[in-house]
């Protein structure tokens, strides 16, 4: 795969940056040939991943750092990597189960949304070291028609 365009950004783990990050990734993704609905889905996915880093990874401590790297590959594939250096996840498989949450007040659907709106979801985490969420989606026309 050939990287056509790339941006990486680092920001403070503040709640107001969730909506900021979501808009920036959406604006970058808009370089791809995709619809408004696609963009809304990308926003949702980024919100879920970034809020997980802030809320779970950093227990809402605003002085930490979240990193997002976005690549456009081969004109039709979007890759988004969201990374934190927080508490990490003990059991990734369990964390990804629908409705599983370590916080009883939450719905536990973040990973489920990420999986359902993207073609690929890969989570790598080390307790005490942090979490990396890699999301990928292809926007080729053939792919789009398969969903139609």
């Amino acid at each position: 795969m050939n990287v056509k365009n790339y941006v990486r950004f680092e920001f403070q783990s503040l709640p107001e940056n969730i909506s900021f990050a979501r808009s920036c990734v959406a604006a970058f993704a808009a370089q791809l040939d995709c619809t408004l609905d696609d963009i809304e889905e990308i926003k949702l996915v980024v919100s879920e991943a970034v809020s997980n880093s802030i809320i779970h990874g950093y227990a809402s401590n605003p002085h930490e750092k979240v990193v997002i790297a976005v690549s456009i590959m081969d004109d039709d594939t979007l890759e988004i990597i969201v990374e934190d250096y927080g508490v990490g996840i003990e059991d990734v498989e369990k964390a990804m189960e629908p409705t599983y949450s370590t916080d009883p007040s939450r719905m536990g659907l973040g990973f489920t949304f990420m999986k359902s709106f993207m073609d690929e979801l890969e989570v790598v985490s080390k307790p005490g070291k942090g979490t990396t969420v890699k999301l990928k989606r292809n926007f080729a026309v053939a792919n789009k028609e398969a969903y139609a």
């Binding site: 808009s23 920036c24 604006a27 408004l36 609905d37």
Partner: protein
């Protein structure tokens, strides 16, 4: 699935897609209205509050309807 839908609705996560043009147009309308009401230039926060749209989305929307790059400088050529 019902639960997921409810979650999405409650969190206003996936809303009806609105075009950037639409958001930008509304933002400019609200700005005029607020100037009329208060006789002063509103802040972006006030416009965002009135429209119930995050500030950054208003900024991106207005940018999208603008001329590309700089008003003053030809970038290539």
């Amino acid at each position: 699935i019902g639960e997921i839908r409810r979650y999405l609705r409650d969190n206003n996560a996936v809303r009806v897609s609105r075009s950037l043009r639409d958001i930008a147009y509304k933002a400019l309308q609200v700005r005029e209205k607020l100037i009329g009401d208060n006789a002063s230039e509103p802040t972006i926060a006030q416009i965002a509050e009135e429209l119930q749209i995050p500030r950054e989305e208003i900024v991106f929307a207005l940018d999208a309807i603008q001329e590309p790059v700089s008003l003053f400088e030809p970038i290539y050529n």
